[in-house]
């Protein structure tokens, strides 16, 4: 047996995941308030409003709604120069809706604001607070990362042990995707540099895909609209942009600042090329965000048709159609993950490739 360092063994990673999960659950449990004050269990019956329902499912919240009146109250973490405030979101989402920490915090329009001494939200105070809360989207992100660790790392370890044998188990499921990304996406676009950037591309692919899939699961721990959140997609696109700019070689910059056109055209070409550097990540952002959000809106609207028409028999038409659309959304989730990866490979490839004779 070749001696392997401990840090890549299966037991290390499972211990790590277990430690991570216990810390997360202990932290959430610590933040749960154990005051005896309970909300009245019967909420006021409101008129069904489709827009509110759809927006509620698409936007981010400080608590995770499970069913009926049951919520998982996630910790709110606010950092300012005065110190760190950690408390359960139950304090600001129910009851008095105010928490007194270093500042007086309140939840207005789904945003945490600081109240001044008169009890009114004050923007200058709110600016000093940095919000590092574990919101529904952050919790979903941590869960999808955990899922990726649990699925991919054992496969990675066992695949190195089975180098010349046929793949078995999860490896046989994932290997076609990995080989496809390597052979059809990375190598055609990046040539020699493919091995350098392949971990990044594969991470993007599986991360976006698993978040798309989790968004379609209607119950906990799925159902958080993470890949339809523009901050998430913007972060991924920004990382791609940074990789492109920091790995770009001279031919890339030459094409932007000194294109091979008559000198008078520089007035048009150089600004357009500069704007082109920015628009490509923006397009990546909006493409993923809009596709996933539109899919969720569509599914929710089709189910809401039953409640708009207040007719239970409509369900015989609505539910099969919603099922059909959900299957399409599964496909769209995979396609959008693939497109993000392919375009990221294209942009990075254009930056790192050596000059090609035209």
């Amino acid at each position: 047996m070749i001696k392997r360092p401990f840090f890549i063994t299966k037991s290390y990673w499972f211990a790590l995941v277990l430690a991570f999960l216990s810390i997360l659950s202990a932290g959430s449990a610590y933040c749960q308030t154990n005051s005896g004050v309970k909300e009245t269990s019967l909420k006021e019956l409101k008129e069904f409003n489709t827009t509110d329902l759809v927006m509620d499912h698409i936007l981010n919240h400080y608590s995770w709604h499970l069913w009926g009146n049951t919520y998982v109250y996630l910790p709110v973490i606010l950092i300012s120069k005065k110190g760190i405030d950690v408390f359960s979101s139950e304090r600001i989402e129910t009851g008095e809706h105010i928490y007194q920490g270093h500042y007086t915090y309140s939840l207005i329009n789904d945003k945490i604001v600081a109240l001044n001494d008169h009890g009114k939200p004050e923007a200058t105070l709110t600016k000093k607070i940095w919000n590092f809360s574990i919101t529904k989207n952050v919790a979903s992100l941590l869960f999808s990362v955990f899922l990726l660790f649990v699925i991919l790392i054992p496969v990675g370890i066992s695949s190195t042990k089975r180098l010349n044998k046929t793949p078995k188990g999860m490896q046989s499921v994932l290997e076609p995707f990995v080989v496809f990304i390597r052979d059809e996406v990375a190598i055609p676009n990046m040539g020699q540099n493919a091995t350098r950037f392949l971990p990044f591309l594969l991470t993007i692919f599986f991360f976006v895909w698993i978040n798309n899939l989790l968004g379609l699961v209607p119950f906990f721990p799925g159902g958080a609209n993470l890949s339809g959140n523009i901050s998430f997609t913007l972060a991924l696109a920004t990382i791609t942009l940074i990789l492109t700019l920091f790995n770009a070689k001279k031919p890339y910059w030459k094409h932007i600042f000194l294109p091979e056109v008559p000198v008078l055209m520089y007035v048009i070409m150089v600004p357009v090329e500069l704007i082109g550097i920015i628009t490509k990540p923006i397009a990546l952002t909006i493409r993923l965000f809009a596709n996933i959000t539109a899919g969720h809106v569509l599914i929710l609207s089709l189910i809401s048709l039953i409640f708009i028409f207040k007719n239970a028999w409509l369900a015989t038409a609505s539910i099969p159609f919603t099922l059909f659309i959900s299957l399409i959304e599964l496909l769209v989730g995979l396609i959008q993950a693939f497109i993000f990866t392919a375009l990221a490979a294209l942009y990075i490839g254009m930056a790192v490739n050596e000059h090609v004779e035209h």
């Binding site: 909006i286 493409r287 965000f289 809009a290 596709n291 539109a294 396609i335 497109i339 392919a342």
Partner: protein, 69 residues
């Protein structure tokens, strides 16, 4: 009134997406009919092009969402 203009914008975007992706699908099918061995490559290229065209249509949807608020 604003709400219906936003809906109108989204509907026009859907027309654009429909025409674009329909063209792509039609050309892809023609290509596959001419050379069935290349079906895999054509399908991959079709999906990429469809996603790009759909992105443009979804830019319009996002703008109509913004117009809704």
């Amino acid at each position: 009134m604003i709400g219906s203009i936003a809906a109108l914008g989204a509907g026009l975007a859907a027309i654009g997406a429909g025409i674009g992706i329909g063209n792509i699908g039609g050309s892809a099918m023609e290509g596959i009919a001419r050379q069935p061995e290349a079906a895999g490559k054509i399908q991959t290229a079709m999906l990429i092009a469809a996603a790009l065209v759909e992105a443009v249509a979804l830019f319009a949807v996002v703008v109509s969402f913004l117009g809704l608020k």
